[in-house]
Amino acid sequence: MKNWKSVLTGILVFALLPAVAQDKYFTRTGKISFVSKGVIETISAKHNSVTCVLDTKSGQIQFAVLMRGFEFRKALMQEHFNENYVESDKYPKATFKGDITNNNAIDYSKEGTYNANVKGKLTLHGETRDVESAGTIVVKNGRLTASADFNILLSDYRIRIPAVVKDNISNTVNITVDCPMEPLKN
């Protein structure tokens, strides 16, 4: 009798395997924007083609952005951002790989707004740092929207502000993430 239990478990595991893929959501048109408020100048930029994948089962969430895709209000700012600050040719992509730590508290099958605590590693300008943020997940019409808001320090990512413009540019950058996602079909 005991043996049959394990046979059953084995069959169950096999049966469940294909179902795993249905738990993932993704987007390739997510939005990320950042604002850096200096004493003299406010620098902000927007990105409209962020890739984000969320595995609702494990709570894993990952983002990728191409640095060149950030759009600024001033052409020269965009040039300097790519050339002098984040060095987009050398480090074309920024990624975040992390987990929703309270994933069990989110019921992806029920519409609503859930708080999601995200913890993971942000890689930017060739540097990887731990990042933590309190965001939300909105479940509606079979879609998910992940949003979050957090601060990073440029100095953590080896992005140097030259002494001449130290007062103009803030070392703290506020990042806002807004990614509406659809089910990922394999």
Partner: protein
């Protein structure tokens, strides 16, 4: 028999669980498809739209106004009494404006010859960093100069068109690496009136411009225009060596040169000093950009 079957299933279970453990950090992003960098054009081959005197393969952004102050001093070897040339100064004040990503216009006025100049600059081919893209940029420049100084010979019959000169230039440039850029720019200068009976109206020169970045915000630049044909009698090839310093919206170009001319007609047909004999002068260009028209917000249609 039953026992061995259950053992076998147990092992499979374990290995599956192990699989799950190993897959703790799967690359979920791969599932969404690889992010290929979009084909992008090469920017910042030069810090400014000018190498030093001559036009560079670089453009202003759309809606950007560039206010340019150019200064050229006297020759350094004119001695301490002339403060090594700093006593004399000539200027050109100019405004450039970016009409599009690859189209800009500019006007300016130089003190030398009380000369007005204007140009239009267009980039039909833009270097791309994609393997399938074009590996170099081609830029066309057409300009006109108008001298407004009193006639040198007021007694003879003078025509208005005698005040006018033209220049046409093709720039072929390539940004080799982040630090090194090189461009060649054949240029034709036409003057409606030349000073001497034996002087040619057309002068051909080959511009050679290069940049070598020293740090992220400073660069060493060379601007050389050997004259190939139609040399104005007694003139030399203009050569300038300088440093570009970039600070936010400003670009400072500090240089030494044998030319005083600050438009194409002037420095190609009017450079009388010999760089190699030490007739060099200090000069600088200051460029300050202002974003007049900000790009419109792109509307994103919800998926």
């Amino acid at each position: 028999m039953k026992k061995s079957l259950s053992l076998w299933l147990f092992i499979i279970n374990l290995s599956l669980a192990g699989d799950k453990l190993l897959a703790q950090e799967p690359d979920l992003l791969k599932l969404a498809g690889e992010d290929k960098p979009a084909r992008t054009h090469v920017t910042n081959a030069f810090k400014s739209t000018r190498v030093i005197n001559g036009q560079s393969m670089e453009f202003l952004g759309k809606g950007v106004l560039d206010v340019r102050f150019l200064h050229r001093f006297g020759t350094i070897n004119s001695g301490a009494n002339n403060f090594f040339g700093l006593d004399q100064a000539t200027t050109r004040i100019g405004l450039d404006y970016g009409l599009g990503k690859s189209l800009m216009i500019g006007i300016g006025r130089s003190g030398v010859g009380k000369e007005l100049d204007g140009f239009i600059k267009y980039r039909p081919v833009w270097q791309s960093n994609d393997a399938r893209g074009v590996p170099f940029s081609v830029v066309l420049v057409a300009g006109m100069t108008l001298g407004t100084a009193p006639w040198a010979f007021p007694d003879r019959k003078n025509y208005f068109h005698s005040r006018i000169g033209y220049y046409h230039e093709v720039i072929i440039g390539h940004k080799f690496t982040e630090t090194f850029s090189l461009q060649l720019s054949p240029i034709l200068v036409h003057r409606n009136l030349v000073p001497g009976a034996n002087d040619k109206n057309n002068t051909f020169a080959l511009g050679i411009g290069s940049r070598l970045k020293i740090t992220k915000r400073t660069a060493f630049v060379v601007d050389y225009h050997p004259i190939l044909a139609g040399r104005q009698y007694g003139t030399k090839d203009p050569l300038s060596l300088g440093f570009d310093i970039e600070t936010g919206g400003h670009v400072f170009q500090l240089h030494v040169s044998n030319s005083t001319g600050m438009n194409e007609k002037a420095f190609i047909t009017n450079t009388t000093d010999d760089f190699w004999k030490g007739d060099i002068r200090f000069g600088f260009n200051i460029s300050r950009v202002f974003t007049l028209v900000k790009p419109k917000e792109k509307k994103v249609v919800a998926p």
